[in-house]
Symmetry: C2
Subunit: 318 residues, 2 copies
């Protein structure tokens, strides 16, 4: 394992002794987690991870968002793609291609072991949350990582051009170049510790993940929205102006009838949200959003450097 990087500015942070629960998808929130874990003890962090994009591929079980969160905590994440392990080799993949099988996702060898072990243990009857606990322990992670559900989830995108397609086809095959009419996912039961992880924490944080495909599936689970109403909830908007920081979030927001903007995020989360963090560039919308939810914090939400990430984490935690 790689030695953990501790940024010098981390030492200046006065630690707030509260348990936090972070809702996460695959890219935006892990960046924020990189900041949080520099200034906050891992033992007091719980991350609830979206599972709707999970799928079997090449005999492995791909829980991409979970693995990204694990690799982020273990300082193993490949930050170029925000999936997979940095410096991984591709021997199995290259041999598969040589033999005529090209996989949609580019899996490295160590990363493939993570995926294969999940499939092996699922086949043996393990629950996904127990597998994730084993894996994150083996990677030396002290934070708790909880899949939102142990049930198989499914997500599909209804497009104007191709009808109903699988989410991964939308992302990879069609490179998001479709008009999204609807985003469909089934209701699943909460994993055993999901509701408790909200009830027992002092603060719930939504990272800047895709509100529709990453965060909303967690909120939609029975009991989650009610539990959130009892807590301090702070969210980081993934939008600046009308464009998402990354990925197809905007297309999805529109399909659900929300504006692709921080205001749209406030509308989506308004039943329980206390505070929305928006970017400096969106300062002009602060008052408008404060009519929807109690508090708005304006700051830099671009997380390019580790200092950006730590500064954003400080604002959220203090």
């Amino acid at each position: 394992m790689i030695k953990k990087y501790k940024n010098p500015i981390a030492k200046k942070i006065k630690r707030v002794k509260i348990m936090i629960t972070v809702f996460s998808g695959g890219t935006g929130t892990p960046k924020l987690i990189q900041g949080i874990k520099e200034i906050y003890p891992e033992e007091e962090i719980t991350v609830v991870v979206n599972t709707v994009e999970n799928l079997y591929m090449s005999r492995g079980y791909i829980a991409a968002d979970i693995d990204t969160v694990m690799y982020t905590f273990a300082d193993m994440i490949d930050e170029e793609f925000w999936y997979g392990i940095k410096g991984d080799t591709f021997i199995v993949r290259e041999q598969l291609i040589e033999m005529g099988t090209t996989e949609l996702l580019r899996l490295g060898d160590k990363d493939r072991a993570t995926k294969l072990q999940k499939a092996i243990l699922l086949e043996e009857g393990w629950a996904l949350s127990d597998i994730v606990e084993l894996q994150k322990d083996k990677l030396g992670i002290k934070a708790r990582i909880i899949p939102m559900s142990d049930e198989e989830s499914e997500i599909s995108i209804v497009t104007k051009e191709h009808g109903e397609i699988e989410f991964h086809d939308f992302l990879i095959k069609y490179q998001c170049n479709c008009e999204v009419l609807e985003v469909k996912y089934a209701n699943v039961s909460p994993s055993p510790k999901l509701i408790e992880s909200i009830e027992k924490c002092d603060k719930v944080i939504f990272g800047p993940s895709n509100p529709i495909t990453s965060i909303r599936p967690i909120i939609s689970i029975d009991g989650v929205e009610d539990a959130l109403k009892e807590k301090e909830v702070i969210a980081v908007s993934p939008f600046v102006g009308k464009s998402a920081f990354s990925g197809p979030a905007g297309q999805f927001m529109n399909a659900f009838g929300y504006e692709t903007s921080s205001k749209g995020v406030a509308e989506l989360y308004k039943s329980f949200l206390n505070t929305l963090v928006i970017d400096n560039q969106d300062e002009e919308f602060k008052e408008e959003i404060e009519e929807i939810i109690p508090n708005v914090i304006v700051t830099n939400t671009f997380m390019k450097t580790i200092e950006d990430k730590i500064n954003l984490a400080k604002i959220i935690l203090e």
Copy 2:
């Protein structure tokens, strides 16, 4: 792919223009194949491979004997273990162990790709024989390689000490240290080209594989024994005196009521066998065996060097 080694003595061989079919298990016969392929055009060789030991492991489909035959033709075989690919890496395996999953078989990365591709394509509905055809083509092999059956086979060993156990547990977990009472395997249907591969060839060769667990399962398939009776069949005895060259062949012979010797092999194959090749050390038993089957050839059957293998192949083919 590794450039094919052509031994200088190979040039001296006068080629016999006949189609041959070789029945093979996992170790003895592949050594003979190394000799045959040096002096015989691959296009005229068909190898029928035992499948009773096939199994799923770690989400891959392990057809160990088939892969050993493929890797032997492709000059990729790891001759230390007679399974796997020489020079292979073990990155996935090491990561699995790091995460707490230790596999019974030691799978290398490229070899794992072979196993994963089989499982991927079986899941897509491919027949095993079509998968093997794809894989051997991709490895540049001109010989035909035919799994004895496309159906799932099972083999178990009834032991005095541990009752009925799986074959791989017998081999690996218990290291063959059991008293074998019975060897059980289910009847399976022939793969589409099995009977034809015997009917259309001019000579059938049984390599020195385990007569009970490698060759007998092929013979037991409906139609095979009748087809063999119409052909010239030559077998190489895996025994010298009362000991097998390698593996637990002796224990199995006894369990079926056969002597663990070349004479036992002659008894087992007598309904169709024309010629048995026995080792120089067994010359004293020649006459005794000739009372059971028509012809006995006495020669060196130890295959330590490539010259040994080629010489044995010459005797069988000429």
